[in-house]
Amino acid sequence: MGLVPFLIRNKEVFRIVIPAIAYAERRYFYLLNGDLPDSYDKDLSSFNAEILPLTREQVNIAIDLAYAHRHELPFREHNRDYLIAGQCIQLVDILITYNKKHFEPLDLVPTRILTPEEFLNEFTPMDDDV
């Protein structure tokens, strides 16, 4: 859970964006958990997170990726990953995810793919005065 406090603390340092598909997934989980839907937006606003609307161009990138990788990562099972990748490759410097094994083969350069732990290790300064 260290990532969220870190992002809140550094909300002026990083521009934090949530791909539309990831937003949908998490919002659904909030609902399943019995939390009010508005709680999710309230939580996201604590670190100034923006939702990235999915554009036609990003969908087209996603579909090109899906076709290129159809044998190892079938669209049927990985459609959400492809749509997230289509947004990231166009707009995102660093994709933070535990699902590296499904994003790394897509070669999303210039987007870097880091786990939350790798991100925290890389960007936590040595001398931050808490």
């Binding site: 859970m1 603390r9 709680s39 939580d43 959400r80 936590t124």
Partner: protein
């Protein structure tokens, strides 16, 4: 510091001084976070059940009308 944080930090290939610093730093920002956002902490704790939630999530299992 919660056990899961100790777990990932202990596994990371970093120097002992860096590990020690990160543990202390994260413990401090977690304490600050828990104090300032207690409701969000509860919600995020519940999110640890996501693997179970995902089984129920229809969004994760779109059916497509063709075979690949």
């Amino acid at each position: 510091m919660p056990p899961d944080q100790e777990h990932w930090l202990d596994k990371m290939p970093i120097s002992e001084s860096r590990r020690k610093y990160l543990k202390e730093y994260l413990a401090k920002i977690m304490a600050e976070f828990e104090k300032k956002y207690p409701e969000m902490v509860k919600r995020l704790d519940k999110m640890r059940n996501i693997p179970q939630l995902e089984k129920e999530a229809t969004i994760g299992n779109w059916e497509l009308p063709f075979e690949e």
